[in-house]
């Protein structure tokens, strides 16, 4: 009984929740390696890619997704506005998926430049970066998103 009470006592210790907020007003873009044949995608496609539900592009090239962690505003945008789930839930989902033998988790980077480099180096690479970081046409821009993750235009 004492142990039960102890467990209940510890469980009601909450002292101020730590939840990151996204205050960015930037536009974001979904970019992919030039080797893929898709010229546009929708937000549902992006969600399925990061959930490991879609693993091949239209030309059957393996999709290689990467993302920026939620330690930065870019990462917060990705989880809050696109996946609409906290990073913790995303990690929990992938923990089950990876350990049950059902796929490999998308690769996480700490900054945008590394994510862009990954997309350039991998034929099926895809990621989400701030619009202001689009400086050349070495990769495809598949979708531009406003700060509510609505598609505002499609380039290419």
């Amino acid at each position: 009984m004492k142990i039960r009470l102890f467990l209940i006592f510890i469980s009601i210790l909450p002292l101020g929740n730590v939840i990151a907020q996204n205050n960015t007003n930037d536009k974001y873009v979904v970019i992919a390696n030039n080797e893929i044949v898709n010229d546009s995608i929708d937000i549902s496609f992006v969600k399925k890619v990061y959930g490991g539900r879609i693993v091949l592009w239209s030309n059957q090239v393996k999709i290689e997704p990467c993302y920026i962690g939620s330690h930065s505003s870019d990462g917060i945008y990705f989880f809050h506005n696109i996946l609409k789930m906290p990073e913790k839930k995303f990690n929990k989902y992938w923990t089950k998926k990876v350990f049950s033998g059902n796929g490999a988790k998308p690769v996480m980077f700490k900054n945008v430049d590394d994510a862009i480099k990954y997309v350039l180096e991998n034929n099926g690479g895809i990621t989400i970066i701030p619009h202001k970081k689009v400086v050349n046409k070495k990769y495809k821009v598949l979708m531009i998103l406003d700060n509510n993750s609505n598609s505002v235009s499609i380039v290419n």
Partner: protein
């Protein structure tokens, strides 16, 4: 001087180099988001456990520590459309010299991806049934210290035989189909099934193949619902060619409503015309991260309660087994947590595990890391 690969001069160097390479491989996997190259991903998990039986009954009265497991999970993408997956487990501080512990392959298979909705696997796999079997060794992937007895290891809870085996060797077809915000995934497995007297991962002891499968719906808002089936024909004994049917069907539901988590799994079936069923229900609440000023850490608190019921044979009265699990999971980094469980077990008097004790209570704890 000629030196071949068996040379006593080169061999120690080669061995050293291999060990160094393996060490670097291991470190790079753990440091860089568990990814070594774009084509090769390494993950893993470990579980260190403690068990203490607080009352009379069967269990650990010595309050033992257990180096339960250390698992390495590899995903290799050698060419487009092909994924090689394996999980190698090292259990109970394995030491082959003194015949202690265990090394095992949890699964090892190539997966050929034809389309997102049709993939094929061949090799050793988890039996895809319900919520827990595929992650039963992966302690970071579920809330409690141990997976449920009633629906997963019912042979330790009063059944003569499990509803379905842990692993199968055979071929599988699987895939994902998306409908708006709902995803449907399916898997069909044809395998040797389970058997006692020969290695089912090498040869079958009868002509009958086991057939298993699961269909699951998952929504973006955290609902996971599915049905599973497993059928096989088992030899009655080592020498007999007589077989008995094993049929199990199950359903599961997992809900996440805000910070509350509900899990329900039910399995029913028959073995040799004896009907049986098991139920597991779990409720948990994730309080999220909270700053603890004294220790300067953000800790996550998740209390949980699980109830299990097994009726091993419905034609026998008073043979049920019940388990009540009261616990708390404390996350202290994004990849590690401590779980504390209080398990109260009750076997009714006609259950084969009944030993004259009405209730027995034990403490289970685990330090779990997943990377």
């Amino acid at each position: 001087m000629l030196r071949n690969k068996y040379s006593i001069i080169t061999k120690p160097f080669t061995r050293c180099k291999s060990l160094y390479f393996m060490w670097i491989l291991f470190l790079s996997g753990t440091i860089f988001s568990a990814r070594i190259t774009d084509k090769f991903h390494m993950n893993g998990y470990s579980s260190f456990e403690f068990e203490f039986l607080l009352t009379a009954g069967e269990g650990d009265r010595n309050a033992s520590f257990d180096a339960d497991l250390f698992d390495l999970v590899f995903n290799f993408f050698p060419v487009e459309r092909l994924r090689i997956a394996t999980d190698i487990t090292f259990e109970h501080g394995v030491s082959t010299e003194s015949n202690r512990g265990n090394i095992a392959i949890e699964y090892a298979f190539p997966e050929f991806i034809l389309r997102d909705w049709i993939k094929f696997r061949a090799g050793k796999m988890f039996c895809n049934f319900g919520l827990y079997n595929e992650v039963h060794t992966a302690k970071p992937a579920f809330i409690t210290v141990k997976e449920p007895f009633s629906t997963n290891k019912n042979n330790k809870f009063g059944s003569e035989y499990r509803f379905y085996p842990r692993w199968v060797v055979g071929i599988a077809m699987l895939g994902d189909v998306g409908f708006s915000s709902v995803n449907l995934d399916y898997i069909i497995q044809i395998s040797n099934g389970e058997q006692e007297f020969t290695n089912p991962f090498e040869e079958d002891n009868n002509i009958y193949k086991a057939l298993g499968g699961r269909v699951r719906l998952m929504t973006e808002n955290g609902i996971n619902a599915g049905v599973s089936i497993y059928t096989d024909w088992l030899n009655k004994d080592d020498t007999s060619i007589d077989v008995i049917p094993l049929i199990s069907g199950g359903g599961h539901l997992q809900l996440e409503i805000g910070s509350a988590i509900f899990e329900l799994e039910g399995v029913a079936g028959l073995i040799d015309k004896k009907k049986r069923y098991g139920i597991t229900a779990l409720v948990a609440y994730d309080f999220g991260l909270h700053k603890i000023p004294i220790i300067g850490l953000d800790l996550g608190f998740e209390p949980y309660f699980r109830y299990e019921l097994l009726k091993p044979n419905i034609s026998i009265n008073d043979n049920e087994a019940h388990l009540f699990v009261y616990g708390l999971r404390i996350a202290f980094t994004p990849i590690s947590s401590i779980k504390l469980d209080l398990n109260t077990l009750k076997f009714n008097k006609n259950n084969i595990m009944y030993n004259g004790i009405k209730l027995q209570t034990g403490l289970k704890a685990a330090l779990v890391v997943g990377f």
